[in-house]
């Protein structure tokens, strides 16, 4: 008897999810109209909220949400549209990316922002391409993303640039001749940046020891020991913040004295928290240094502090990450494109994006013929282990 009741309940539960699934679309539409009672344009946000890159993805999304909070409407073709953000979690996973992308496509997004993490961006790219929806990459730095595509744009610098900057920095500042490069297998961001760093560093006459780690690995002690034994002078670890926290902790407990170097992903308060009060020397290259635009800083800090969810998503404090700034700028680039297109049609927006120029918090943004941003400067920051904040070190560019 009991079993039969349960099975009926179960069947009912499944049926209700089925029904609810069917109702999904009208519901979403009702949501939008309720808020706006007018025209709505949907901007898709294709970002990881869980998995390896969840922390970074959330910070990037935060910037987009803040921008949406500041400017919730846009004028397209003489009509006022309310911007509705449709945020989908791609789970930092290349195999989940296509279906997450398809969710955005079926929600009728006019333009999509994202993603943090190069692998998922490449994996989701074709789905957007088929649907003819333009995407603005926020901080995905791998060259393969935009290469050969007309629908993918990006507002950040690229890995060959970033790798060279960091290689120059380590040889100029530390006189390093030997670098230990640790990358994650199967992570396009990590292997890509590691590759370009190695290339640049070897071109400068340095020697590189390359090692890789598997997904799910959390024991980095042996890598740190190897780096010490080999006499490396810098430890370059382009990786997710999750790995970074583990690596910093273990480097500190093993007394790794050489500087730790990383790319834009490490520009996060996760790193600051992990490094605070420990004997580690961390340098990152990034897009923005807090204080670059005091007005923006103050505004977003106030917003983060007023919203508990936002604060939690930012890692529990109000440090402004470069990622958040990039998310903020990407939103405005999307609005500019919508305005220029004069329509919410994805194809028109795609066409308009080529000529968009915008001066954002992170600097001037315009696209070249591949769809990449014309950027020639990166900021190098150093983690202050006493105050738990970033110290500005240098603005680096690559001499052609």
């Amino acid at each position: 008897m009991k079993k039969r009741v349960l099975s009926v309940l179960l069947a009912a539960a499944m049926l209700s999810t089925l029904l609810a699934g069917c109702e999904k679309k009208p519901e979403a539409a009702a949501d939008g109209t309720e808020a706006a009672s007018g025209d709505v344009v949907t901007i898709g946000v294709f970002e990881p909220a869980s998995g390896d890159n969840g922390a970074g993805g959330k910070q990037e999304t935060l910037g987009i949400q803040y921008a949406n909070y500041v400017t919730p409407t846009v004028e397209i073709g003489g009509k006022e549209y309310t911007v509705q953000l449709n945020i989908v979690d791609n789970e930092s996973s290349n195999d989940k990316a296509p279906s997450a992308a398809a969710t955005l496509v079926s929600a009728g997004a006019s333009v999509v922002l994202g993603s943090y993490g190069s692998g998922v961006s490449i994996a989701g790219s074709d789905t957007f391409k088929e649907a003819g929806i333009p995407v603005i990459g926020v901080t995905c730095t791998n060259p393969q993303i935009t290469e050969g595509n007309t629908h993918y744009f990006r507002i950040c610098f690229l890995d060959p640039f970033q790798g060279t900057v960091l290689a120059n920095f380590s040889s100029d500042n530390f006189g390093a001749k030997k670098a230990y490069v640790l990358t994650k297998l199967g992570d396009d961001y990590s292997t890509g940046l590691g590759h370009y760093f190695t290339e640049a560093f070897e071109a400068l006459g340095g020697e590189v020891i390359e090692e890789t780690f598997q997904e799910g690995n959390s024991d980095f002690t042996s890598y740190i020991t190897s780096a010490k034994n080999e006499g490396a002078e810098v430890f370059f670890a382009p990786s997710s913040t999750e790995v970074a926290a583990l690596l910093i902790e273990q480097a500190a407990s093993q007394g790794l004295e050489i500087p730790l170097l990383a790319g834009d992903t490490w520009d996060s308060n996760v790193i600051l928290n992990a490094a605070e009060g420990k004997n580690v020397d961390i340098y990152v290259s990034t897009f923005y240094q807090e204080g670059g635009n005091p007005e923006f800083d103050a505004g977003i800090k106030e917003w983060i502090n007023s919203d508990a969810t936002a604060k939690a998503n930012n890692g529990g404090d109000d440090t402004v990450s470069g990622l958040t700034v990039m998310g903020y700028d990407a939103y405005y680039v999307a609005l500019e494109a919508l305005k220029a297109a004069g329509s919410t049609d994805p194809a028109a927006v795609n066409e308009a994006l080529w000529d968009v120029t915008y001066t954002g918090v992170s600097g001037d943004i315009s696209f070249n013929e591949i769809g990449d941003a014309n950027r020639d400067a990166a900021y190098i920051k150093h983690a202050n282990t006493e105050t738990g904040a970033w110290d500005f070190v240098a603005e680096q560019s690559v001499a052609e």
């Binding site: 692998g119 396009d188 890789t212």
Partner: protein, 362 residues
């Protein structure tokens, strides 16, 4: 029903299904999640049936499916990336060493063959192992294959641990259905042949089967190789669906998912695996997505427990409920057929009355 009418019915059903899909494709906008689910569902149906052939029909408990799918997917991708885009895909390896591309159907078959060859080699030592040990050994082999494909030294062939992309993908939702349909049809023919009966005999009692003159080693090897062949083909299809592939996608979690599909559908039921796969994919990718929406209100009450991740919790609770209360899965070891459906409804009403009378047993 006579055998002939049965066949006519089945053929008619399949034709109707394909026609329905064709019409759907013309009517529903191609961006709909429906097609994502249908495509992925068809692919998972194939791999679930191939796993069922081993676990359900031959009684060999293997957990290596993800590894064989990886082999199939990589073979497919490596052989079909157009020559002109190889330089950009294999950017760290000077365009790779494979400098030709073959047609899609051939590449899919090649994927199956590569998986089958590996299965043959792996099968030689591991098929001697019993039940759980076999499961662990095959799981281990899948992990080893994954690591080898990520090896930098093989980069010119496999692109190291980086993504493979730019290979041909599905043009129509019919494609995976037709390929998966043909493959599943072949498996069904196999199951109904002498070999199939021998497989079932091995499943039911190895020692008795051996006493009846069935060559155990030979038949186990055969089932393992054939199952892996189809896993390889489905790997190729999965690559077409995903548009990009990478070794790190084929984790043991993938095998567990397929195993769940097999069990939900019913161990030893081909149609069960197919139905299970569509339901599983639809639930995990589509129907439950609204649960992740954190801005849902009932009246003025904010459903604050609904936030990203809630969908998965609900999904796993459903799965647990099925596992605990529908031990035999949706279909048990029966197959779906028109006649069966009719009988089911007839019997069900009768059974209801019977159960009402005898419910004190439970």
């Amino acid at each position: 029903m006579k055998k002939q009418t049965k066949i006519i019915w089945n053929v008619g059903l399949i034709a109707a299904l394909l026609l329905l899909l064709f019409i759907l494709e013309q009517v529903v906008p191609s961006s709909s999640m429906l097609f994502m689910v249908l495509k992925k569902g068809a692919i998972y149906a194939l791999v679930a049936v191939s796993m069922n052939l081993l676990n359900g029909f031959t009684g060999l408990f293997s957990l290596g499916q993800a590894g064989f799918m990886l082999l199939g997917a990589y073979t497919y991708a490596i052989l079909t990336i157009p020559v002109e885009s190889r330089a950009s895909v294999y950017q760290y390896f000077d365009g790779g060493i494979v400098q030709f591309a073959i047609p899609v159907p051939l590449a899919l078959i090649a994927g199956g063959v590569v998986a089958a060859v590996f299965a043959f080699l792996i099968g030689l030592p591991v098929l001697r192992l019993k039940s759980d040990y076999l499961a662990i050994a095959t799981l281990g082999f899948a992990e080893i294959i994954r690591a080898v494909f990520q090896w930098d030294k093989l980069g010119p062939l496999t692109n190291g641990s980086n993504l493979l992309r730019n290979f041909p993908t599905f043009q129509s939702v019919l494609y995976p259905f037709i390929v998966a349909g043909i493959c599943i049809g072949l498996i069904v023919l196999l199951i109904n042949s002498t070999y199939g009966r021998a497989f079932k005999a091995i499943r039911d009692d190895e020692i008795a089967a051996e006493a009846m003159g069935i060559n155990l080693a030979h038949h186990k090897q055969l089932a393992f190789v054939i199952s892996s062949f189809f896993a390889g083909v489905s790997g190729g299809l999965l690559a077409m669906y995903q548009t990009t592939i990478q070794a790190s996608m084929f984790k043991s979690a993938m095998t567990y998912e397929i195993l769940l599909i097999v069990v939900i559908g019913g161990i030893g039921s081909v149609t069960g695996s197919c139905i299970g796969s569509f339901l599983f994919i639809a639930c995990s990718e589509w129907w439950l997505r609204f649960l992740d929406n954190s801005n849902l209100y009932i009246g003025d009450f904010h459903l604050s427990f609904m936030r990203p991740g809630f969908r998965k919790v609900v999904f796993s609770v459903i799965i647990m409920a099925i596992v605990l209360f529908y031990r035999k899965g949706l279909m048990g070891d029966r197959e779906f057929s028109i006649e069966g459906a009719r009988r089911f409804f007839q019997k069900h009403f009768k059974k209801k009355q019977a159960v009402e009378g005898g419910s004190s047993h439970e």
